[in-house]
Amino acid sequence: MPQIELAGKIYEVDEDGFLQELDKWNEEFAEAYASAEEIEGKLTEEHWRVINYLRDYFQQFGIAPMIRKICKDLKIDMKKLYELFPTGPAKGACKLAGLSKPTGCV
């Protein structure tokens, strides 16, 4: 299993960089991974809104939310979402949020 070192810590990830031990997730992980997902600079409050939403949703329902739901609940549109996470919500946002790799719909 590949490993990745971020901000001095070692994480087990899969080939796509998705965390393989979800309980190891922490904010530094997200912060440190951001640049790999084409996010320039530090994560903003808006990034965190999305990330926290994703984590809450995942904790509550065991799945990643559908895109429409993210946009509705957070009152942002797709364009904005891709501005925040240029590699898209499924790849970028979920990865940073430490969700299991989506096979569904995000």
Partner: protein, 395 residues
């Protein structure tokens, strides 16, 4: 003679049909990815099992789709296919190409990928088969510069496709190519940035022969047809009579038996004709579709997973289809909105209609119920009444 690394695959170089193994070997001669692919495939032939890991989410900037991630489960043996992602390149409508365009594609792919392709994938894309994660963005950049774009993947609109239609076919009742291109351009966002509950496919056949199998494999199937009478060239009918048995090969096979042939004149009772195309197919010089053309719109087609395969269902018997196709786009958007609102994750449109009922769907998208929508009315007596159907009594 050297002992081959791929004794099993070598067997598939034999025989008269063109061999994919030859192509793989060709590519393998100059490309290490192709070489490892060949060797991994040989292992699969030996083991009778695939050697790819599950899934893979990779992509290019700004897009959520268009790339299928793939990783070998034996990177130890086949390091060059450790990552081996597919890029789906949106084809030109009707799969028409100038060679210069194709050559550009080949050059880009030799530069960035394995040199292997599928011409085409079964949704219709030109499939560039296998490259590394690092090459994805540069490859996309080169593609874009050369005028190409990616097709759909994931829970997005998938690359629409269309039969050859008016470009070559005398039976085209709608301009399948133009419509396909138009929709593809109109819905770039839906294609590249997945936002639906699941995939959504559009296919367009310009007549009921359905040469892109639209009814079987698209959520929205557009099938050309006409409203008026079949055009008959009586002389050509008689000419056919010299070579074929019109009664047996045409009239007797007409599903509605609405034709009469007296050995000299062919009479069609057009009000009974269901425009199946058979008679026209058999006598293309003598018979032509009518002039008042348009299309039937059907929805819900899909493969078996999860609730079983579906053929699309007629929801609009007839729609005129001319640029800018506003009526159609309106309908598509109403349909997608409803689906997006009520669909569960990984629930195709057809499955949602199945779950909530056609009547709910029709009401939501504002389509009137017509008998053309059904093979037959319901047999079970479990009939719902809308509140407005009921006489309101004072309680």
């Amino acid at each position: 003679m050297e002992r081959s690394d791929t004794p099993l695959l070598d067997e598939l170089e034999k025989g008269q049909w063109p061999s994919f193994v030859k192509d793989m070997k060709e590519a393998a001669r100059k490309n290490p990815m192709a070489k490892d692919l060949l060797k991994q495939l040989e292992l699969s032939y030996k083991d009778k099992i695939g050697h790819w890991k599950h899934g893979g989410i990779v992509g290019v900037k700004g897009y959520g789709s268009g790339v299928i991630g793939r990783y070998s489960d034996r990177p130890d043996l086949f390091p060059h296919v450790q990552a081996f992602h597919t890029m789906r390149v949106n084809h030109p409508s009707g799969w028409f190409y100038k060679t210069e365009t194709l050559r550009k594609l080949c050059d880009i792919w030799d530069k960035h990928g394995s040199g292997l392709t599928n011409m085409h994938g079964s949704t219709g894309d030109a499939i560039l088969l296998g490259t590394t994660t690092e090459h994805l963005q540069p490859c996309f950049n080169d593609l874009s510069d050369a005028g190409f774009d990616l097709g759909g993947s994931g829970s997005a609109l998938r690359t629409p496709s269309a039969c050859v239609g008016p470009a070559r076919c005398e039976w085209a009742c709608v301009d399948s190519l133009d419509l396909c291109y138009h929709l593809t351009m109109a819905y770039q966002d839906q294609m590249h940035r997945p936002m639906f509950p699941y995939k959504f496919k559009i296919k367009i056949s310009a007549c009921a022969n359905d040469c892109v199998a639209a009814i079987a494999r698209s959520d929205l199937s557009i099938i050309g047809t006409w409203k008026d009478a079949i055009r008959i060239n009586a002389d050509e009918v008689r000419a056919y009579a010299e070579n074929i048995n019109i009664q047996k090969e045409v009239c007797d096979l007409c599903p509605t038996r609405c034709m009469e042939w007296d050995g000299n004149k062919l009479k069609i009772y057009d009000e009974d004709c269901t425009r199946c195309m058979h008679c026209i197919n058999v006598m293309p010089k003598a018979l032509r579709p009518g002039k008042e053309t348009g299309a039937s719109i059907l929805v819900g087609g899909k493969a078996p997973i999860v609730k079983g395969a579906l053929l699309s269902w007629v929801v609009v018997p007839f729609m005129k289809l001319e640029p800018p196709y506003d009526e159609l786009k309106d309908l598509i958007e109403r349909i997608q909105d409803w689906w997006d609102e009520f669909g569960k994750s990984r629930e195709r449109l057809g499955e949602l209609i199945q779950r909530l009922g056609m009547r709910v769907f029709l009401k939501a998208v504002g389509l009137p119920a017509v008998p053309q929508m059904v093979k037959a009315p319901r047999t079970n007596p479990y009939v719902f009444f809308w509140p407005e159907d009921l006489k309101k009594e004072e309680k």
